[in-house]
Amino acid sequence: MAEAETSIPIPEELVREPVSEVGQMSQWQLMRLRFSRNRLAMTGVIGLAVMYVIVFLGPFLAPNDYMYQNTDYIFGQPNSITFIGPDGRFSLRPYTYEISTVLDEQSFKFVFVENREKKVPIRFFVRGDPYTLFGFIKSDVHLFDVDRPQRFYLLGADELGRDMFARILMGGQVSMTIGLVGVALGIILGSIMGTASGYWGGLTDDIMQRIIELIMSFPTVPLWAALAAALPPISATFTALHRYFLITVILSLVGWTGLARQLRAKVMAYRQSDFVQAALAAGASDARIIFVHMLPNAASHIIVVAALAIPSMILGETALSFLGLGILPPLVSWGALLKSAQQVAVVVQHPWLMIPGVAVVITVLFFSFLGDGLRDAVDPYSI
């Protein structure tokens, strides 16, 4: 048992503490790691990316213009697709059938019958209805279409014989952006109010809290509806696009309260924290403390709260438009499309009118996955 009192010089590489990779990561790196390992969250991100691409390429992807009315195909069902060519053999080119209109003897209604004998080829990259992509690319080439006089309805037609597929893609442009814009406005409003309320406290806080309580004491959809009802009717000076923006403002007017509350709590906690006390002691200005010390720390929480608020905004717009108080023609949204599907009888006869609802559900689901994943990544110990 040798007493080794004499110290042995230690090589530098051994003095460094042994740490695993995880231990060395920054807060943001850890969040990114946790997020990218969350399968649901990644599903949400990829799914949404795909949907945005599809929706904004809508006019190119859909064979018909979303406004084109075909009085010969009112409430027409979706056309079938077959890969068996006219010669009875498998072909790579898809075919659809010729449609003929027949008067049903019993109900005295026109029904659309596919003529199984007469196959119509579906062609790719063909010229059709003109459109403008992203607001500046003018074109008339569509991904697929059939030869005229026939028209192709992938997801059927609505009460005016308009292509549901084209309308769902166009509606997606509204429905998938209105939540984002609404939340962005809500973040700005909520951040200002919440930070001010939490930072200065006292009277500012009291007044802010009462305002929030007041807004929260109304049921959301009825309040949105009442505000939307006060918007002027669509005219040359007040276009559907103006209405779109004002609807987002209305949605965020109610939606900011939640964000403000959350941020207030955070800011109040930071106010007591040592790093803010230290900054105060060092004579930092209010603005510096808020923008340099508090908001960067709260940033991850703001992002999470915002992501979690998107689904309710999308659902809010859907409900408003469904009631006829949201998006109005010539713009369409998924909620506005679902307006045609208010009665059970209609839905039973023309189930394809419900497809916009499926789009809403998928979108909201993806956004929820995303929001949940973000929250778990930022604060793995919360709900």
Binding site: P222, A230, A319, V361, V364, L365
Partner: protein, 327 residues
Amino acid sequence: MARYILRRSGYMLVTMIFVAVIGFLIIELPPGSYLEFEIARLRQLGGDMAPEQIRALEVRYGVHDPIYLKFWKWFSGFVRGDFGRSFEHRLPVSELLWQRLGFTVLISVLTMIFSWVVSIIVGVYSATHRYTIPDYAITVLQFIGLSVPNFLLALVLMVFAQQVLGMEVGGLFSGAYRNAPWSLAKFIDLLKHLWIPILVIGASGTAWLSRVMRGNLLDVLNMQYVQTARAKGLSERTVIWKHAVRNALHPLVMVLGMSLPGIISGETVVAIVLNMPTTGPLYFRALLQQDMYLAVTFLMFLAVLLLIGNLFADILLAWLDPRIRFE
């Protein structure tokens, strides 16, 4: 405790006055006024109107009054139960209000009870069975419940009830009972119709509440006093139900106030699809027709319902949590 209730009630009254201000602003917001509609209607009915007639009407409705006087006239009437007239139905609003509001309250309360009972059971189950297949299944259902717009769910359930179960759907009563006086048979008929609205309106709230309950319970299960209870040798069931759930309920009661707007909102929208004789269909129709007195009266009463619900939640919380009770 009594003082606490009194103070909360005081707050509520103050909030109500501000709610009334907002309600009045909403009446005044839309272009055109009640009077213009009235005049247009009278013109339609017959002949011209003399300028004196119009002026008399203007005085009666106080069109040129300053805004605070207008507010006072409307507000003092409102407090006395005079809510103005519905020009569309040509009836005082009060005659259209009460029965529909009654059904709204009934359905909202039942939905609330349903969603609470289900949420607590489901939340406790999934928090105590974390990382198991049933927990994942519940999570999937919760996500779907939160993602499906309630009117869409109503449509799907109605189609299901009609096509698969062969039920007569829509409304709260079968045709035979719709206008019949109240009887036991009518009451049973009502119960048969109630499950669809309760399920539909409660779906998203239940999905959310059970998620909150799960999170709360997981938080509480991390608390030291749960470990203390385990260290005493209590069975896991006693630890969870006696020590953890009781404390996990506090935040749930606090969000009760937040879940109410969802239920009332949901009720109004779903009522249109389900064709229910509640406030929703009349309210949205009134908004579309700019029948503002009717619309705002409904909105005000929905807000009052919410405030009463919040007061109730506050009292419940005080009863549940000794720290608030002794404040």
